[in-house]
């Protein structure tokens, strides 16, 4: 048995900030696994997802929710999904494999991203300063998801409704991303 232990550290140490009625919070209790569809295996995967999660795989750009592990399937590309779910003791890919078997190629992405939630009446106004895509609810309604670029940083954005957004950006530049968000909120309040 090793004499040493490794402590977990999140990208932003679980930061929570409030500016008026806009809140920014790092999400640290969720895992992310990428699911790639084996060539010709869409139907098999779909069935497995329905069976294990009681939900259908979403279209690209949409999110499908499941009560199982509070899982959110994000349609990222024609042959790729991200599943975001509550973290538990076991390794994230093991957990997905236990539910979906070998119906997909799974890659742990939990440590690749910093996960932030921005919410509040002026959150969309703040995001206007950095987000090139149209976040108006008629264009980007609840459960919409897409990849975009914010201040040079690759970002995945998911609309959670009611002016709340989940943002995923690269872990290594989490500090810069936080700064970008903070500046945007400060500039519009």
């Amino acid at each position: 048995m090793s004499d040493f232990m490794l402590k977990v550290r999140s990208p932003l140490d679980g930061i929570e900030l409030t500016y008026g009625d806009v809140a920014i919070r790092e999400i640290t209790d969720r895992d992310i696994v990428s699911i790639a569809i084996p060539l010709g295996g869409t139907e098999t995967l779909s069935k497995a997802v329905i069976s294990a999660y009681q939900t259908e795989l979403p279209a690209v750009g949409r999110c499908a929710k499941s009560h199982v592990d509070n899982a959110h399937f994000l349609g990222m590309a024609p042959d790729q999904y991200f599943i975001v779910f509550d973290r538990s003791g076991s390794e994230s890919t093991d957990k997905i494999t236990s539910k979906l078997g070998k119906t997909g190629y799974f890659t742990d992405q939990s440590d690749s991203w910093v996960m932030m939630r921005i919410g509040g009446p002026k959150s969309r106004t703040a995001l206007e300063r950095i987000c090139p895509i149209d976040l108006h609810p008629t264009v980007f309604p609840e459960e919409s998801v897409t990849r975009t670029l914010m201040e040079h940083l690759s970002t995945i954005i998911l609309s959670e409704g009611n002016d709340h957004y989940l943002l995923l950006s690269a872990r290594s530049s989490a500090g810069s991303f936080l700064q970008v968000l903070q500046k945007s909120v400060e500039n519009v309040l």
Partner: protein, 982 residues
């Protein structure tokens, strides 16, 4: 003196008084004033000096076309030059100073230029200062530069902040005048998402500057009523103080919103925001700009556009003079007389260039039909004007109307050309509009109010129906009849005095004629020869009259003469706005390694590698030079063990049934038979056969590999793999995803590396040399169950491993590695020691993989697969990449071991001159080797492998270095790799 020219009415708040300073003098104004209107209210006619001749100049316009009233606004570091007083909203404590004079504004020493004007005509730069030749750089140019320009920058960093943003809409309406508001009504009522952008701080355009009635109410009342409806719409976004400065592809418009320029203090909020507006349709309702008529001394303070005169009187309750004369070639000019008279301002004369009956005769005014003004008098402001019939008319303000130019600029930003309309003597938008744009109102050549209201409403309906919304009910309000007739009249030929076309650049009719006479008769040539139409106003008033003069010189029509090209920006945008928040530390994002915080605690010195900040070295007490840090780190690693954060290397997870075949095709060496649990070095070629990147790829299972790339090429290699997967071989079952961020990865190198790792790796995993030999890999656990990956690979030439854990454990792992290494005197090493060790070992890196070298050049020809086809395989066999003389990678060491080699130096044979003809190669990487205790280098030299032991010269002409060096193997250290395999 306090607002002596303030009159009744207007849209100003007289209950509040604002104090401001101009050239140090304190004045008063009111909310709703611009700096220009407040200066006029206070009787300040002289506001600046002209660019070349330093002639006294006054306010000419009431908008962004202003050529004269350019001031330096605010003080100190906040100072901004060339700010248009006509657009500057007055605020308490505003400070402005006039520009371009030596001495006081009134007594400018540089006004002597005006006396020299016969020698300073257009193009004089090109004809004078030719001799003596040596004077140009030392005398003439510095002198010209010292006197050139208008305002001055503060020379200090700009303390204001700026921001950028993105907006989306169905309909973008550009301009909040009669047409724009009508368009907003129909577009807004349809439910479409509408943005209404208006340059001014108050919506209404000419409606609030004129006295025309519509729908039984005044223009201002109609605007107020309309705004009340529009502001209640949640689908409409108002953007006053916003200039749409450019029309770009796909309905994208560049827009500048002035957020806090009108406030005394911006309270740390961005001063301006540069928006990118994405629109499905755009309706240009930018109105029209009035133009002057050229006649002798038409630039004196007090000479003003007639429309601006009305605006000052009606909107700002300011009369620009007490005795005002009018000079016009169109009916619009007469409206000025009517408005002035109604306000009780004396009109001394109306001079109309057209023959025929007078329209209205203001009481006490002389009316001269078919009249010509040939000259004006008044040193610092107009006192009188002289007609061609010899009549002198007293006036302290001359309102001039030469007709109106529709603001077609944005219609031309995508290559469109405007078309000429004789009936209004102006260019109007052509057919080739930016995609999705329509034009309405005066911008479209409909110069009357009724036309603007109708066209605007219709344009709003058409645009919304185009994109699927239903038509709105809209009836344009009835307006009084307007007479908009014009007879083109550009300049007074009878004038003997200089007649100004471009007030901002001091360009006269004679200058344009001279340009034509000297062969610069094409409109673009004329512009550059005379500078007409350049600088902040971009010739908004001057261009068309100048075209008319040029057309006359060349015996062409105005449309045949054509216009210069309209380019963004429509009006100036500060560099700060373009930079946005990308300044200082916010210039670009940073990527931090998992060990960053720990490295900061160790006082590491960092280096930028792309966006990454990497620890370069770790100074220790007593060390005074970076070489000491690096030498210690290298020597201690080679002696015992060192740890380096190599997280920045690209990591790509590759999965699929066809993953082996995929790797066989993207790598130049074979991977199909790589066993599970093994790692292999891989070299990737570009399609043209040149080396693209290198790294290692480990096989974790039958269908799963993890590839590493160089830090620099992590993104480009991933992109390349995606291209191959999606486009070249879509039939392969293979998927790639970046895992660079997923794992914190550390190199643990040195003879004690295994012993150190042995203290971390959980006991069920055997990492002995036998169980885990060189180039082995495995998924293991460390520190009691934490998942990890272990690779036995080496960049340093030592027994070495790379250990990877999920990044959440990265900070902890570096601390544990250092703690576990204490018994072995473990040393953290940075990128410089990493580089030294790889050069000692002879590993190629960025300097060698420079986009010019092949596998053969790098000494890896034997690595190339003979049994598989791969990207680059065909073109690598080109004769041009395989001739005998191609430089190949070799090692170099100085004959005199006390001398140093320099990267980038050229290799020249002994006894030959250091010329390009004698160039035999170059040094690509160098290091001062603490292991060998002398300077070593890697480089490329012709026929390198056959010249072992030869002595050549390493020449660096930039530093005057010329060092004799011996050609040796690139593997300076442990060439047989014995240390790797122990």
């Amino acid at each position: 003196m306090s607002q002596i020219n303030r009159i009744s009415g207007g849209l100003i708040d007289r209950d509040k008084t604002l104090n401001f300073k101009f050239d140090g003098r304190v004045f008063e104004g009111h909310p709703g004033d611009t700096l220009a209107s407040a200066l006029l209210a206070n009787g300040q006619r002289l506001v600046g000096r002209s660019f070349k001749y330093h002639r006294p100049r006054g306010i000419v316009t009431a908008g962004s076309e202003e050529p004269n009233a350019l001031v330096q606004l605010r003080r100190g570091a906040h100072q901004e030059p060339n700010t248009r007083a006509t657009e500057t909203e007055l605020f308490e404590g505003l400070e402005a100073t006039s520009q371009n004079h030596r001495g006081s504004l009134k007594y400018d020493l540089m006004a002597v230029n005006d006396l020299l004007s016969p020698f300073l005509t257009a193009g004089f730069y090109y004809k004078t200062f030719m001799w003596p030749k040596g004077f140009w750089e030392k005398v003439y140019e510095p002198a010209i530069r010292a006197s050139a320009g208008l305002g001055r920058l503060s020379g200090e960093p700009d303390p204001d902040t700026y921001d950028k943003g993105f907006l989306h809409c169905d309909i973008l309406i550009i301009g909040g005048g009669a047409a724009g508001l009508s368009a907003a009504l129909t577009a807004g009522r349809s439910g479409a998402r509408v943005i209404l952008a208006e340059e001014n701080f108050r919506m209404g355009g000419r409606l609030i500057a004129e006295t025309l009635e519509l729908g039984g109410m005044s223009g201002t009342e109609w605007v107020t009523e309309t705004l009340a409806e529009l502001t209640a719409m949640t689908n409409l976004r108002f953007m006053p103080r916003t200039t749409v400065y450019g029309a770009f592809d796909h309905g994208i418009y560049g827009t500048l919103e002035r957020m806090t320029d009108h406030l005394s203090s911006n309270e740390q909020k961005p001063r301006q925001v540069l928006w990118r507006i994405y629109s499905k349709r755009a309706i240009l309702c930018a109105g029209a700009t009035e133009r002057l008529i050229a006649f002798g001394n038409n630039d004196r303070p007090g000479v003003m556009l007639a429309g601006a005169t009305r605006a000052y009187v009606n909107r700002w309750a300011v009369t620009p003079g007490q005795r005002i004369a009018i000079f016009t070639n169109n009916n619009d000019g007469w409206r000025t007389a009517t408005d002035l008279t109604e306000k009780g301002v004396e009109v001394t004369a109306v001079v109309d260039t057209r023959d025929g009956p007078a329209r209205v005769t203001p009481s006490g005014a002389s009316v001269v039909m078919g009249g010509r003004i040939i000259d004006t008098k008044g040193r610092h402001g107009i006192r009188s004007l002289t007609l061609s019939n010899g009549q002198t008319i007293p006036a302290d303000c001359l309102a001039v109307s030469g007709g109106w130019n529709p603001n077609v600029h944005l219609t031309c930003h995508q290559g469109g050309r405007p078309v000429w309309r004789d009936d209004i003597a102006a260019f109007t938008p052509g057919d080739n509009l930016p995609v999705g744009m329509t034009v309405a109102g005066a911008a479209n050549g409909s110069l009357g109010l009724a036309g603007a209201l109708a066209e605007g409403g219709k344009a709003g309906n058409v645009a919304t129906q185009d994109i699927g919304y239903s038509r709105s009910n809209y009836t344009a309000p009835k307006t009084e009849e307007e007479a908009v007739g014009i007879s083109a009249f550009w300049y007074v030929k009878e004038s003997r005095q200089r007649s100004w076309l471009d007030l901002q650049n001091d360009v006269t009719i004679k200058d344009v004629q001279l340009a034509c006479q000297e062969g610069f008769s094409a409109v673009e040539h004329m512009k550059r020869y005379t500078t007409l139409g350049m600088a902040t106003d971009q010739g908004k008033m001057a261009n068309v009259p100048a075209l008319a003069v040029l057309a006359e010189c060349t015996n062409k029509s105005i449309p045949d003469t054509g216009t210069t090209v309209f380019r963004p920006p429509y009006s100036p945008v500060s560099i700060g706005a373009f930079a946005g928040r990308s300044r200082g530390n916010d210039f670009r994002p940073y990527r931090l390694t998992p060990s960053h915080d720990w490295a900061v605690e160790q006082s590491a010195v960092f280096v930028e590698t792309g966006m990454w900040l990497r620890a370069r070295w770790f100074p220790q007490p007593g060390e005074t030079h970076w070489r000491q840090h690096v030498d210690r780190e290298v020597l201690q690693t080679r002696k015992s063990v060192g740890v380096c954060d190599v997280t920045t290397l690209g990591k790509i997870d590759i999965q699929g049934r066809d993953a082996p075949a995929f790797l066989n095709s993207v790598y130049a060496n074979a991977f199909g038979k790589l066993a599970v649990g093994k790692v292999r070095y891989g070299l990737m070629l570009r399609e043209d056969g040149i080396a693209m990147d290198d790294g290692t790829t480990a096989r974790l299972s039958e269908k799963r590999f993890v590839m590493t790339t160089t830090t620099a090429n992590a993104v480009s290699v991933f992109r390349h793999l995606e291209f191959c997967r999606q486009c070249l071989w879509p039939g392969m079952d293979v998927h790639v995803i970046s895992a660079t961020e997923q794992f914190a990865q550390y190199s643990v190198a040195g003879p004690n590396s295994r012993r150190l790792l042995g203290r971390l790796v959980d006991p069920e995993f055997d990492i002995s040399n036998e169980a885990f030999p060189f180039m082995a890999c495995a998924e293991i656990t460390v520190c009691g169950g934490t998942p990890a990956r272990l690779f036995r690979i080496s960049f340093s030439g030592e027994l070495a491993y790379e250990i990877a854990v999920p990044t959440r454990y990265g900070d902890a792992l570096i601390r544990v590695l250092i703690a576990a290494g204490e018994p072995f005197d473990v040393v953290p090493y940075g990128t410089e020691a990493l580089s030294v060790m790889r050069i000692e070992k002879g590993h190629p890196a960025g300097g060698e993989l420079n986009g010019q070298t092949t596998a053969h050049d790098l000494g890896m020809g034997r690595l190339l697969s003979k049994s598989t086809d791969y990207i680059g395989n065909t073109l690598r066999q080109r004769p041009g990449l395989n001739f005998e003389d191609r430089p190949t990678l070799m090692g170099f060491r100085p004959v005199d071991r006390s001398t140093n080699l320099t990267a980038g130096a050229h290799i020249i044979a002994k006894g030959k001159e250091a010329t390009m003809e004698n160039d035999e190669g170059w040094i690509s990487s160098v290091a001062s080797s603490p292991t060998l205790k002398y300077s070593i280098g890697l480089g490329f030299i012709k026929r390198g492998s056959r010249r072992l032991g030869d002595v050549i010269r390493v020449v660096n002409p930039l530093k005057g270095e010329d060092v004799e060096a011996e050609i040796v193997s690139p593997h300076f250290f442990d060439p047989d790799g014995e240390r790797l395999r122990v």
